[in-house]
Amino acid sequence: MSDQTAAPDQENLGAMLARRGFGRRSLLKFAIVMTSSLALPPSLAPVMADNLAKAKRQSVIWLSFQECTGCLETLLRSSAPTIDSLIFDFISLDYQESLMASAGAAAEHTLRQAVAANKGEYLLAIDGSVPVKDGGVYSLTGGRSNVSMLEEFAGSAKAILAIGTCAAYGGIPKAHPNPTGAVGVEDIISGKPIVNIPGCPPVPEVLSGVLVYFVSFGKLPDLDDRKRPLAYFGTTIHDQCYRRPFYDQGKFAKSFDDEGARQGWCLFELGCKGPTTHNACASLKWNNGTSFPIESGHGCIGCSEPDFWDQGSFYTSLAGSSATGWRNAGIAAAVGLAGGAAAALSARSKTPTIPEDKS
């Protein structure tokens, strides 16, 4: 660590953590956890730990648009002081208006300063959809429309993180009849790398994984066709669900309090949207790995998919849904086209591109 005596804002992460009593083994352990989370080969953990040790804190500028603050809440309340929380040492959250002490003109000044100081290098995090109807008047900050702010601050960002289903696809504000003309970030911005991290709210570990990957390897992780990190969205809830064997055996709960429900059978017939929903809830779970909705006895509502709110009842089986996309997928699932445990194995083995060592 060549810059042990560097100014705190210039020192690398290894030096900063060492100053706070975290040795390299802690960093390696963190890297082991993160490579597992990102479905990278475990042998890459020492490389990731070395890269993190040499990296500087990553500037993140976070703008909240038409949202409920649930995304921010889930990320902040994601953990007790666990190893996952090391992520907060790796980023410099230079602007987040709900968390910062300043307000009004002082906050606007802070934003300008943060953008100027990190021009071309900062990650722009967005939560909330962007209303565009009537000139975007339905959501303003300091008198400025969300769409105007997004266009300006995306310009000098290195990449954009669309956090939550609203920022990714418009989410609940976009639900019929969409009175504010809400859209997702990628409907406005082109020509910039964008990562969608959908979910209502999103799984916090996914954001940690994306940030750590970016800090470690200087680029975004592999994405699917909807710009979602492949490592977390490459498979469906259904394919990783612990109730999947019951589905394969044709054992379904018919109501929430019948014998099948008590036996923990598959919730497909009660409207579970697991077969058509791509997310990592079944593997990462929630509340520090405690459980996820299906484990608590309720079907998946598909909150990380586009337009999930307009796809009919949460309690209508996919096989009987009137929504075209889900009906087709539901019929496919019902006739067993998905591949069971083999699919889950295959999904985990869709190893994202192994990043080059940037050191």
Partner: protein, 133 residues
């Protein structure tokens, strides 16, 4: 909460043992280490228990206290380690089979050694009695 673990699958365990054998061959012949991320695979607790039983327990068990507790235990097969990492709350956050002479996380890091060296010199006043001798 019901325990939804299903029966251990011998086939999966056999497949993992074959993969471990391949990694051992690599280590013995070319000194190349390897790892298998057990939490990244859809293994039930019963499957994990069966794998653990088939691998057995070897001569060394190390406890690491860094950002939570970790246990790194050599199995009955030399160079095959069962590494289990918990966070500060005790939750298992990573579980690996490491096939290595010594797992990377047990080795001291040169940067840490450098810092510790400086700390030791500071604590002892840089051994003034030696300098005067």
């Amino acid at each position: 909460m019901r325990d939804f673990n299903f029966l251990a699958d011998d086939t999966l365990v056999d497949a993992l043992l074959a993969e471990i054998a391949g990694l051992m061959e690599n280590l013995a012949a070319r000194n190349i280490s390897g790892s298998i991320d057990l939490l990244g695979l859809p293994l039930s607790a019963a499957c994990l228990a069966l794998l653990e039983q088939r691998l057995g327990t070897g001569e060394i068990t190390a406890t690491l206290t860094a950002a939570g507790s970790s246990e790194i235990r050599e199995t009955s097969f030399s160079g095959v380690w069962w590494s289990s990492h918990a966070d500060e709350t005790g939750r298992i956050v990573a579980m690996l089979i490491d096939v290595a002479l010594v797992p990377e996380i047990l080795k001291a890091n040169t940067d840490d050694v450098r810092l510790s060296h400086r700390r030791l010199l500071d604590a002892t006043g840089s051994f003034p009695h030696r300098r005067s001798a």
